[in-house]
């Protein structure tokens, strides 16, 4: 039998994993492509609304909607990348901020127009409801599922970016665009697909998040701060870093609230400020 704090920590880890899936895409686009995409959570919201619509309107099983959420966010992002983002790869950070904040604004009202301002309910499949007993702990099944998904995503990303041809192309394009072009790499395509990958992961995160944190048109902004915290604490472009940061934030948030509830709201921000003062480039950052 384990003391109850382990159960709390388990919840913290699961919450951290949700933050990880939501953030890792931004870490990839910001770190590898140097693009400040503050509309990242808008792509997450697209994923969320796709899942909600498919489950509630069309009766799809929840799990089957997850790839759709990924795909919808990825496709939308490619369209926007071709139309808008591409022109600002060389622009100043501030112009990138303005563009992507503008898109986030638009996403909020489009979502409110189509889906209304109401919180979207979702019913997850029976298999993911309730909890299982393990050494005297109640472990939520959905949270176990979240941890599993996060691990799969991490593994796929690490393998995909480190060991595949695509990963090599991405890294080459980032390091030196001209040389990459010289080697016959289609840099435009590489950037577009990296962007699609990052946004697709956000879409997946958005779909997974509904069960834990709900979904309304303000989603584009509600989680932006958390996502930025994870990305900066982890270190730009570092998948392992985002993973570690999401764990750190999730666990310290929950453990802090358990032991010192008076500090509940302060802790995440304190952790971030302290980590960045100690390591400005983040836990796993290179620069």
């Amino acid at each position: 039998m384990l003391p109850p704090i382990f159960g709390v920590l388990f919840d913290g880890i699961a919450y951290g994993m949700l933050l990880f899936v939501l953030s890792v895409g931004l870490s990839v686009t910001l770190g590898l492509m140097n693009f400040v995409n503050l509309a990242h959570c808008a792509f997450a919201m697209i994923g969320g609304y796709v899942t909600v619509t498919l489950v509630n309107q069309f009766g799809w099983p929840f799990l089957a909607t997850l790839p759709a959420a990924f795909a919808a966010a990825a496709v939308t992002s490619v369209v926007l990348e071709r139309l808008l983002y591409r022109r600002l790869y060389r622009a100043s950070d501030l112009d990138q901020v303005l563009l992507t904040i503008g898109l986030a604004f638009i996403s909020v009202s489009v979502a409110a127009y189509i889906f209304g301002t109401v919180q979207q309910p979702i019913s997850t499949p029976e298999a993911l409801r309730g909890s299982v007993q393990f050494l005297g702990l109640n472990l939520g099944k959905y949270r176990l599922f979240l941890i599993g998904v996060a691990l799969v995503v991490t593994l796929a990303l690490v393998i995909g970016l480190e060991y595949t041809r695509f990963g090599a192309q991405v890294r080459a394009s980032v390091d030196n665009q001209r040389m990459a072009r010289g080697l016959g790499i289609d840099v435009d395509w590489t950037f577009a697909s990296t962007f699609a990958l990052g946004s697709g992961l956000a879409g997946l995160g958005g779909a997974l998040a509904i069960e834990i944190v709900g979904l309304d048109p303000n989603f584009s902004f509600t989680y932006l701060v958390y996502v930025l915290i994870v990305v900066s604490v982890g270190g730009l472009g570092s998948i392992a870093g985002s993973f570690a940061a999401a764990m750190l934030i999730g666990i310290s948030d929950i453990a802090g609230k358990y032991y010192v509830p008076e500090l509940g709201a302060f802790l995440i921000y304190l952790v971030m400020v302290v980590v960045l003062m100690w390591k400005p480039a983040g836990l796993f950052g290179k620069r």
Partner: protein, 386 residues
């Protein structure tokens, strides 16, 4: 610059004098609400209540046409609310101020209503102090104290609770709820086992629920604002193995609102709450209201919607009584005598406090057929606002 100001004043005076006469045929109601941002759904539902009432009762009262002017505050911004109230009075020549999703909005606009002597109908914001900020404020929603005090008393007496742990969101309404519930509970003989205040922006509740569980209280009182949090809190209870059927989980209405109950499903069964309105309330006025609301907006009304609906009722009836006079004093005097059958049951305006006197229902989440809903099983009538 001084010259300019004097010139401006003169022009203004000239522009304003005929103002009152110009608005002869219409009554303008300025609705100040958080139409955008985090609280947009609240504002939407209030607005739906207003729209439905006007659809059912027409847009002409006492020979005057009702015109609604909507203004967005974007959130709890007293400064914006005050400015919008000023603009409504000065620029749009509004006769009545209404809406007010959130307490800071109402507090911001209060001084304008007092200075301009305009009736101000608070349709939602629920902190106690609001009505004391301007003699022209009438509230058609409820106060947090009204509900929490009633529930506290009920829990210690009829509810049979002895020891309660309280968990509230760390902001105005939450602290109000904690204070009123604890005081009422203690003075009715109960004991407070402990309490915790949780951050307002709090996506995950497991740590707080585990703290409560460690103390193993026989009852818990919770307050969190509507939105995503009620469902998250309910799930945290379930995941930490706290079953509402075994532990008394008491709350106001928000933590068991329709969205939360739908998201929680069977996990919500057994939750007890005190509240002034639910779409599932059994009375004739409500049956019609819910049916019409669903036909119009494809969703159920909630307490926000009924606040807007009753707010419009108050305005219509006051205008009828005042014979179409729109000055603040006439409308206020007329409002103070009002009494009607609302979808929430019999209600009246307390002339002393300008708050609603209404019934607080004690409900339990139950399965009715295939639906999981709040079912009233007890009630306290004629509760005054506080």
């Amino acid at each position: 610059m001084k010259h300019m100001m004097y010139a401006g004043t003169a022009m203004l005076a000239a522009a304003l004098l005929p103002g009152a006469a110009q608005a002869q045929g219409t009554v303008k109601i300025g609705v100040i609400s958080a139409y955008s941002g985090q609280f947009a759904d609240t504002a939407t539902q209030i607005d739906n209540g207003i729209k439905l009432y006007m659809k059912q009762h027409g847009d002409t009262v006492a020979g005057k046409k009702i015109e609604i002017i909507r203004k967005d505050t974007g959130g709890p911004n007293p400064d914006v609310a005050k400015r919008l109230a000023q603009e409504l009075v000065v620029r749009d020549q509004a006769d009545i101020l209404a809406g007010f999703t959130l307490t800071p909005e109402a507090l911001g606009a209060a001084s304008v209503s007092e200075e301009a002597k305009k009736l101000m109908v608070v349709m939602n914001a629920a902190t106690g102090i609001i009505t004391s900020r301007s003699p022209y404020i009438v509230r058609t929603s409820f106060t947090v104290g009204q509900v929490a005090d009633t529930l506290g008393k009920w829990a210690a007496t009829k509810g049979g609770a002895k020891k309660v742990y309280t968990m509230v969101s760390d902001f105005g309404p939450g602290i109000d709820a904690e204070k009123f519930f604890q005081n009422a509970f203690k003075s009715a003989g109960g004991e407070i086992a402990g309490s915790v205040r949780m951050p307002v922006a709090n996506p995950d509740f497991s740590a707080f629920v585990q703290r409560a569980k460690d103390l193993n209280p026989e009852s818990i009182f919770v307050f969190v604002p509507g939105g995503a949090q009620p469902a998250a809190l309910g799930k945290a209870f379930a995941e930490r193995g706290m079953d509402p059927k075994k532990i008394n989980i008491l709350s106001t209405g928000e933590p068991v609102d329709e969205t939360a109950v739908k998201a929680l499903g069977e996990l919500a069964l057994g939750r007890i709450s005190g509240w002034h309105y639910d779409y599932n309330l059994k009375n004739k006025a409500n049956a019609e209201f819910v049916k019409a609301f669903n036909a119009e907006f494809k969703r159920n009304p909630d307490f926000f919607a009924v606040g807007g609906y009753d707010g419009m009722h108050l305005i219509y009836e006051a205008l009828k009584k005042s014979g179409g006079k729109t000055d603040g004093d006439s409308l206020l005097a007329a409002s103070k005598e009002l009494k009607w059958d609302s979808p929430r049951g019999p209600v009246s305006i307390d002339p002393a406090t300008r708050e609603m006197i209404q019934t607080i229902y004690i409900r339990k989440v139950e399965k009715v057929g295939s639906e999981i809903v709040n079912v009233e099983f007890d009630k306290v009538e004629n509760v005054k606002g506080m």
